[in-house]
């Protein structure tokens, strides 16, 4: 297509601010390097005094072409790309992609791997919510909460390191199961963390829940109706803070979530404070899930019985010719995935995460599209902040909990 057929390009900052009352309006560029945009989000805000008249989010500063990159990787190699999309909940990304590929391959995943996936994904949710709470409080002015949250997050990262050797870019879930055998002593380590964590959540709540400044800054701020949110593609805790109980873990259970006993917290106030309460309660519920998974962890294999997909054990490679051949073939050319297309949805800490994977029968994904929650949620920014005060913009966008890597891909 030649460029002559493209519509004219209008940059957001070229629009003339006009005011019906004749008052001068100011166009303010918030970002892309503003600290409270948590990455490289740019908001072009038109102000009438302190009131936001118009707010236009500009994204794309962190676009890496990662969906294109998928097309030249083998299916198993592509797992490492998913970590880098939403870098605050890498294991959720791993899980979504692996489930999609496993659906195409029709693989049966053994219970231990499924439960381990549930446990680690919930720890990732804790990790993500802790970063959110710390930075959100920091934006609003509560400095110390950040230090408390990062203290616990450090423990979670150490657990990830114990499992996968990596603190953030874990790539611990692989197509067919887990990357490595769960390490010796993981139970005590997780138990030690989970035993103290509820009391740590109480500490955060002591600092914030009844804090007059916190309430003043968050209560009644950032409201947006359920109809608007559904229409604009908002998912996750924001929707639940408005009273809508939508959670893929309950509605479309995956990886044996249906076996776990947990509640989906909701609030009806539909403001920044309610979103805070929902996420804090989600942390308590995730702790419950982690405890159930830890206590009831099934024994047995941690990867599927599918020699053409899953790498063989080192021991077998030294003694069995077939194992050596499979290893060579999987590493050098990957495995073929039957033709077809799937859309796998999971509940990431931020909302609905969808993986649309198209296979053409070769060893490389033909097309991978990620429906990321941050992208959907960010579309509601204008609707949420227009008509409010500039100071509330920080609280409002903080309550959305977006990650720009997740938005721009």
């Amino acid at each position: 297509m030649s460029d002559a057929t493209l519509p004219p390009i209008i940059a957001a900052d070229q629009a003339e601010p006009q005011s019906p009352t004749g008052a001068r309006r100011m166009v303010l560029n918030m970002g892309p390097q503003h600290p409270s945009t948590h990455g490289v989000l740019r908001l072009v805000i038109e102000l009438d005094g302190e009131t936001v008249v118009k707010c236009q989010p500009e994204i794309g500063y962190l676009h890496t072409g990662i969906e294109k990159e998928f097309e030249v990787k083998t299916y198993q190699q592509a797992v490492t790309l998913t970590d880098r999309v939403d870098y605050l909940s890498p294991l959720s990304m791993n899980l979504g992609y692996c489930l999609a590929a496993e659906k195409l391959l029709a693989l049966e995943i053994p219970p231990q791997a499924q439960w381990m996936r549930v446990m680690l994904t919930e720890l990732t949710r804790l990790n993500s919510h802790l970063v959110w709470l710390g930075t959100h409080a920091l934006d609003i002015g509560a400095m110390s909460v950040f230090l408390y949250c990062f203290r616990e997050r450090e423990e979670i990262l150490k657990i990830f390191e114990m499992f996968s050797g990596q603190r953030m870019m874990t790539s611990y879930f692989r197509i067919g199961g887990l990357a490595l055998e769960p390490p010796r002593g993981w139970g005590q380590r997780v138990k030690k963390f989970i035993d103290v964590f509820p009391s740590r959540i109480d500490e955060y709540e002591n600092l914030l829940t009844n804090n007059r400044i916190w309430m003043g800054r968050t209560k009644g701020v950032g409201a947006i109706s359920i109809e608007d949110m559904l229409d604009l593609g908002v998912t996750g805790p924001m929707l639940r803070a408005a009273g809508m109980k939508m959670d893929a873990r309950k509605d479309e259970p995956y990886s044996s979530y249906e076996l776990f006993d947990f509640d989906v917290p909701t609030r009806t106030e539909n403001d920044v404070f309610a979103r805070y309460q929902v996420r804090v309660e989600e942390m308590r519920q995730s702790t419950r899930i982690v405890r159930q998974a830890m206590d009831g962890m099934p024994a047995g294999p941690w990867k599927a019985d599918a020699p053409h997909v899953v790498l063989p054990d080192r021991e077998k490679m030294k003694t069995q010719m077939e194992a050596l051949i499979y290893h060579f073939k999987i590493v050098t050319e990957g495995f073929r995935v039957p033709e077809g297309e799937v859309y796998q949805v999971i509940e990431s800490p931020r909302g609905e995460l969808g993986f649309y994977v198209v296979s053409d029968g070769t060893a490389h994904p033909y097309r991978v599209h990620m429906r990321t929650p941050s992208f959907g949620n960010l579309q509601a920014t204008s609707r949420m902040v227009e008509g409010t005060l500039i100071a509330d913009v920080i609280a409002s966008i903080g309550s959305m909990d977006f990650v720009l890597g997740d938005t721009d891909r």
């Binding site: 390009i9 794309g60 097309e71 030249v72 229409d231 799937v342 649309y356 579309q379 721009d408």
Partner: protein, 157 residues
């Protein structure tokens, strides 16, 4: 035209009853319903699915490039009904030369950014879109990187 695998799928029957000419085919595969819709009817079918079949959410819009096959592009819509706990995939095939399709922004406002992304990365135009410009790449960028004939490495000389 209903394929055998779709005969007992309520949503497929409903779309056929609504507009038999719009439904070009589809399949039920791996527990997922795919309906192939005539590109000229996509807006009315989406409106019907949203208001009469309770698919209140548009989960995503994306595209697949089947280069060098023709019709080259598939525009893919994932719809979600929260109430019915149901998902459906709509697919429209577009020819490779000057691909263009009706926008569904009048049905779901969330289509705005999704369609801008498809426009940016695939070069498919959405007619009736309120703000069709690049979203990921700089405005002066040439080409559409998710097309199969766009190189993965290297730079222009």
């Amino acid at each position: 035209m209903l394929t055998d695998s779709l005969r007992d799928r309520g949503v497929a029957l409903a779309v056929e009853a609504f507009d038999a000419d719009a439904l070009l085919g589809g399949k039920f595969d791996r527990n997922e319903v795919t309906l192939e819709i005539a590109p000229s009817r996509i807006n009315s079918v989406c409106g019907y699915l949203k208001y009469d079949q309770k698919f209140v959410r548009l989960s995503s819009v994306t595209a697949v490039d089947r280069h060098p096959a023709e019709p080259r592009f598939e525009v893919v819509y994932h719809l979600h009904s929260v109430e019915r706990k149901l998902r459906v995939r709509l697919k429209c095939r577009l020819a490779g030369h000057d691909p263009s399709i009706e926008s569904v922004t009048s049905v779901w406002r969330s289509a705005n950014w999704y369609e801008r992304e498809v426009f940016d990365l695939f070069g498919i135009r959405f007619t009736g879109h309120p703000d069709l410009r690049r979203i990921m790449l700089p405005d002066e960028w040439e080409g559409h990187p998710l097309r199969k004939d766009s190189p993965i490495t290297g730079s222009r000389v």
